[in-house]
């Protein structure tokens, strides 16, 4: 602690340079946090997927349906605990830009398969009795300022088209901050009544829960084998594999984000390393004085590293703090185009570690140079 005034005094030697370097750190860490949040949002489906859940889609593509009869057949496969099914509804609320995902659900089994999405029992009971009922995620409720009891019209161009009306009977919340709270659930029976006769017995995909995750490979194979060479062949995957494949449709987001991250890392390393190198070079004779009066080579290295570390920490904390403030604003601005952007503590911890690493790396070379400086050579420089 007794060296702190010395470190601070050296840091504030060139105030404009200090502000610019800290600023570049802050911007880079903000960008890092934002990219990490977006990457996290894309990967969240895979990350939070239940290990004991399988998703079954039509082998051709997810837009091709599967027969409703598969549900009971799959339930007979050993290891399968419960099966539910969904359809994509694809309705428009007032305007196309008001996008939010709507699913036709199987009320009987929905809560057993997706137990992390919680609906109060009394609201669920009302929903079960109301064929036009809907359960809506908390974020979508908040976004459109809806409340329970509201009547919501949705226009659709599929399923025979037309305007459908729903009563909001309940709100679901995720158990974890990462859980998607944007969905709109409507009843399978209501949906089935209104769609053309030819597609009344078709579902979009199935999700089933296993007794044990260890059975996943065996059950998946059993299902796909069972429907091989049928008119509706299946492709069964774990929920995480399904989510990962879904994200791949958007392109290699991971690669893009990692590439930007690497560029940010290297740029920051160069900017800070250059700043520290200039800073050390400017006070070569002072470092000579420090050594002459008894400061060790390691102490000199410590001073240089401490300075770069302080810059990194202050800049890093500023950037991450900015991200904490900005992410909720960005989430709102994105209007549900991406799942909930959440700046989880692990991103903040990783960001701070990243800042510390850059701080140490950028101070290391100038610090080693200062450490190896010969006193008599240093003192000659004025």
């Amino acid at each position: 602690m007794k060296f702190l005034p010395l470190i601070l005094a050296n840091l504030f030697r060139k105030k404009v340079r200090l502000v610019l370097t800290i600023g570049s750190f802050a911007v880079a860490l903000f960008l890092f946090a934002f990219l990490a949040v977006v990457r996290d949002a894309f990967n969240r489906g895979a990350d939070i997927a239940g290990a004991d859940r399988l998703v079954i889609i039509n082998r051709t593509s997810i837009i091709n349906p599967l027969p409703i009869s598969y549900r009971d057949e799959m339930l007979r496969i050993p290891g399968v605990k419960v099966v539910t099914h969904d359809n994509w509804f694809g309705g428009i609320y007032q305007d196309e830009k008001n996008f939010f995902p709507q699913f036709v659900i199987d009320p009987e089994n929905q809560r057993q398969v997706f137990s992390e999405l919680m609906v109060p029992d009394d609201q669920w009971d009302v929903f079960l009795k109301d064929r036009q009922g809907a359960i809506v995620g908390a974020r979508t409720m908040e976004r459109f300022h809806w409340k329970i009891g509201d009547r919501i019209p949705l226009k659709t161009t599929i399923w025979g088209g037309g305007n459908w009306e729903f009563n909001i009977d309940g709100v679901y919340h995720g158990k974890r901050p990462q859980d998607d709270e944007t969905q709109f659930w409507l009843q399978w029976d209501y949906f089935r009544e209104h769609v053309p006769e030819s597609i009344k017995g078709e579902v979009g995909w199935y999700t089933l829960r296993l007794y044990s995750p260890d059975d996943a490979v065996r059950v998946a194979k059993a299902i796909d084998d069972q429907y091989a060479n049928s008119p509706f062949e299946t492709r069964t995957e774990t929920e995480s594999a399904f989510a990962a494949n879904w994200v791949k449709q958007f392109g290699n987001i991971q690669m893009l984000i990692v590439s930007i991250g690497v560029v940010v890392f290297l740029t920051l390393l160069l900017v800070t390393g250059n700043t520290m190198a200039i800073s050390v070079r400017e006070r070569t004779s002072e470092l000579g004085v420090f050594k002459a009066i008894g400061f060790s080579d390691r102490a000199v290295l410590f001073f240089v590293l401490a300075e770069s570390l302080v810059i990194a920490l202050v800049g890093g904390l500023m950037g991450l703090g900015l991200a904490v403030l900005a992410v909720p604003v960005l989430t709102k601005a994105l209007n549900g185009l991406l799942p909930n952007l959440v700046l989880v503590p692990s991103i903040l911890a990783f960001g701070l570690s990243f800042a510390i690493l850059i701080g140490l790396a950028s101070g290391l070379l100038p610090g080693l140079g200062a450490m190896r400086l010969r006193i008599i050579n240093a003192l000659r420089r004025v």
Binding site: S285, I293, D297, I376, L379
Partner: protein
Amino acid sequence: MVQVDGKANGNSLIQVRELDKKYRRGNEEIDVLQGLNLDVNKGEFVAFMGPSGSGKTTLLNLLGGLDVPSRGSITVAGDEITHMSGHKLTEWRARHVGFIFQMYNLIPVLTAYQNVELPLLLTSLSKSQRRTHVETALGVVNLADRMHHYPRQLSGGQEQRVAIARAIVADPTFLLCDEPTGDLDRKSADEVMALIERLVREYGKTVMMVTHDSLVAQRADTTLHLEKGVLVEAGQPRQRVSAGEMA
């Protein structure tokens, strides 16, 4: 009594024996110091004079453990410094040597107080003990009222007095002054020299000083002349110098 014949009885504070220093410039080897002997007792004030390139500053650097000789030995208060490791030498410098440079070499972003406090940061003294030492040192150089000024807010003479306070604050065994008045006007130079004399007379400090200025050198107890790395002449403004075997 300062001796340069290498025949002192061994009780002197600083003993230099057969000191050589060579530098290599390309293929050429330059002898800066050649077989130099020197004995300085505690409380003595020695001035080294000589033309540029004669090896004055090199000798001072070697005495202060800032450089290593090519041959020979330097012993200070019983410690032979010529074979110390870099780490030991650094510790030794902190305990035994006070440096005063021509260009003052104060740290511009630190106040006079903080500059003087620097050597004490290497000790185990508490903050209040450090404060007492710093105030005392600044009092000795008569700058107690400038302790919160930055170097840029001080005159050249005042800066050098702060540098002297920094050199004495940890109570080193001896002081090494490299042209301490070289960048000062006559009046400031007189003030600085009066201060250095006072450190010798009142506080019993041992001082070795390099200077080009004969007026300044006259204030030392002994003036030794270095020419092309060899002690060729000994002046004795105040004391006799034994120079029986000058290199």
